[in-house]
Symmetry: C2
Subunit: 459 residues, 2 copies
């Protein structure tokens, strides 16, 4: 059982340099918990502890540090220590770290690795970020089809210490093309003398190295898989993506989507808020805050264009924030529903017309309700004489209500269609959401508002 | 290999009533793929196919349908057929379906189940939604500590056909209290004569039935677990949550968060956009669109209060949309960063002061840059005489720039603090985000804008 009281005790052990007890602690706790705990120490102190452990545990704990901490520790190591550590790491974690080294350091490390590892590292590092290839690991169990279940179990037992998962084994032909899958459960339940070929699942769910990482993660989620095999263009098995990496991809993509909804720039790993320096944080936020404020100059230009209308009917100014807010809200609602449905692979581009129709129907209802409410409020609950003589409050209410209704419909349609357009252009649908969309709606809203009021009021 | 060309062929088989080939298809494909495919048929047709399959496969495919489809199929079954089907389902899927039956139907089904299943169902159904208890399954392998590894493997082999996962086995004492964990990998690699007690991990990561489902899902993600054991108040093992359910919880919570950011009401399962009727969709959206528009009446009241200022300086109206947009954008950025950091368990309530300080520093920089830019734009790039005599454009620029700077700081601080306050009140931090926050910022913004302009311009 987890005992949080261990923490202060361990701190004391560190100061006493009691290596044996610290080793026991590292072996007893989950490697991630050990990493979290050790992360409070300096890189040199961490390495003193890690060095005293057996290589496999050392690499496992090391892999569980954040990449920044990994880099800091790597800085303190000699070339040979680092090469050894990298060799012991799981291939997917190893390549993530390797990619963050500066080129000189990469060139220094590569020759110090064994040939097989060097080639594996080069290969994995060659896949572009965001693809299945960049997330997969080369650490999986592959079996030929013509051995028996007993032989297969024996092979798995032998390979188990080095493999990330042994619960799925992939069956490949003599050219390493993927032809089947057996789970350890299948093997345990099958008669030992049967051939792997006869117990394997032939309908293997797989993805390609070039597939989008989010698509692949969603497949793992959809089919409740422990791992998904990844093949190249010739159907040759080149790696697997495990369930734990899939959930990290999903979290990362969610964080990016959410930050796009609120216009915070750059790609992001999860969990960085407290670590961002003020300047980094400023750089993430400033372009959007200032850029979008700049765009709002257009809404200013539109208002100025209708200066005369506003001068005569100052009451229009009172409803301006409501107008921009309503346009932004309805547009964002539509956009978010469509973006989320796209992200969860619930709809695709071919549903274009269905989305337009769905958004049109709901916006018509919203427009009707909101327009009527506003007309009613302005006609019956406006005190005082804010309108020039010759105009009734009811006419002004009609103008404003009609303008709001139009804006609700326009905003819903645009909100629904723009993410689909972005997707059609192979852009991330989330870019047309949140503040970007709101700003567009503000500009559109001021145009709709003053144009319609001008027409209805006949000025 | 997956062959999409099967689809039209299967359609033909259905019309020809070729049951054997359809059975082969159901056995060959992944149960989720079969369910997706069959979902296009009517409930009666689906049941005709499912009935012809062996009970375990039938229940597995059935569990992979959306709950709505499950309910539709259940409608067409006799009491005994339904009771049998429910008995064959995994306990966690079974309880999800059971909870959606009307009480009469629940009362009808329960007596038709075997006693053990009835009690299991009642027990699982008793945990409140959103807790670990409501997500967990009671289908796990438990071992006593004092059997050998060989005996443990034999037990797992015997239990394997009925268990959701056999890759983790939980070690319990005579009172079923959780005392250890062995993975199937550990058992395969351990000497067969050793005792389970001596090979098990004693530092088991676990959660309690009453824990929040998102906390538990995040633990599974953090420690890369296949499953997490769930104990009651007496440390008795009562269930496990598997990795695939954890990723579904994470997705569901993300969807809810995202919808809250854009003010779409109600709790949601993933993947519902296309299924929502226009009226349901309207009901999700209308309260927010209309409610928030209603709140904007306050910003209207504030503008009206400053009618004289606006009448004299109509130029102020040109910058109103920019003002509301900037307040909303900066406030949302701060809120989103804090909400996401809270959701990923990166910060907690005790970081209150750190968050305030961090937001203050970055907003000071943003305010400085934005205020100066605006002052510059208004002073040097405003054509024509929009200001009354006796006032210079530079003074107006100073007033507007200062108002924007103040709003940026206020919005950042509020955006950072409100989610923490919500969390302190045990509310979901995401409720103070997106449109709700923007509306608050609009009202606040108009107040700041006109007050500061009035003071600086001395009118």
């Amino acid at each position: 059982m987890r005992n949080p009281l261990l923490a202060p005790e361990l701190r004391e052990l560190l100061s006493k340099n009691d290596v044996t007890t610290i080793q026991d602690f590292c072996r007893f706790m989950h490697p991630k918990a050990v990493a979290d705990f050790l992360a409070t120490l300096s890189p040199k102190e961490i390495w003193r502890i890690l060095r005293s452990l057996e290589p496999s545990l050392r690499a496992e704990i090391f892999s569980n540090f954040d990449e920044d901490v990994q880099l800091d520790i790597a800085e303190t190591l000699s070339r040979d220590e680092l090469a050894q550590l990298i060799s012991d790491m799981p291939p997917d974690d190893r390549v993530d770290l390797f990619k963050r080294f500066p080129p000189e350091k990469q060139d220094l490390i590569l020759p110090a690795l064994a040939k097989a590892e060097r080639e594996d590292l080069r290969k994995l590092a060659s896949y572009p970020e965001g693809t299945a290839g960049a997330v997969m690991t080369s650490d999986y169990v592959a079996l030929p089809p013509d051995i028996t279940v007993r032989e297969a179990l024996e092979r798995i037992r032998l390979e188990a210490p080095d493999k990330e998962t042994i619960y799925y084994a992939y069956v490949v032909d003599e050219k390493r093309r993927l032809i089947g899958l057996v789970s350890l459960k299948d093997l345990i339940l099958a008669p030992p003398h049967k051939l792997v070929r006869d117990v394997m699942h032939k309908d293997v769910i797989f993805a390609r190295v070039t597939d989008d990482q989010e698509d692949v993660a969603r497949m793992i989620q959809k089919y409740d898989l422990l791992a998904l095999p990844i093949v190249n263009g010739d159907n040759v098995l080149v790696g697997i993506i495990t369930h734990d990496d899939a959930v990290d991809v999903i979290t990362q993509e969610n964080t990016e989507d959410i930050e796009k909804f609120t216009a915070i720039g750059g790609p992001h790993e999860a969990g960085v808020y407290m670590k961002l320096s003020t300047l980094e944080y400023f750089r993430k936020r400033a372009p959007w805050v200032i850029g979008l404020a700049g765009l709002e100059l257009f809404s200013g230009m539109i208002i100025r264009h209708f200066e005369d209308v506003l001068n005569q009917f100052l009451i229009l100014a009172f409803y301006m924030p409501m107008m921009t807010a309503t346009g932004g809200n309805t547009g964002s609602q539509s956009a978010i529903m469509v973006i989320r449905a796209l992200a969860l692979r619930e709809i695709s581009l071919k549903d274009f017309l269905k989305v337009i129709f769905k958004e049109f129907k709901v916006s018509l209802l919203l427009a009707l309700v909101l327009g009527l409410l506003l007309w009613f409020k302005i006609t019956y609950f406006t005190s005082g004489a804010e309108v020039p003589s010759g105009f009734s409050l009811s006419t002004v209410g009609l103008a404003i209500g009609l303008a709001f209704a139009t804006q609700v419909i326009v905003a819903s349609l645009l909100g629904g269609v723009l993410p689909l357009l972005a997707a059609a252009l192979k852009l991330d649908p989330a870019i047309v959401s949140g503040p970007t969309l709101s700003t567009l709606m503000d500009i559109m809203g001021m145009l709709v508002y003053f144009s319609i009021c001008k027409i209805v009021l006949g000025i």
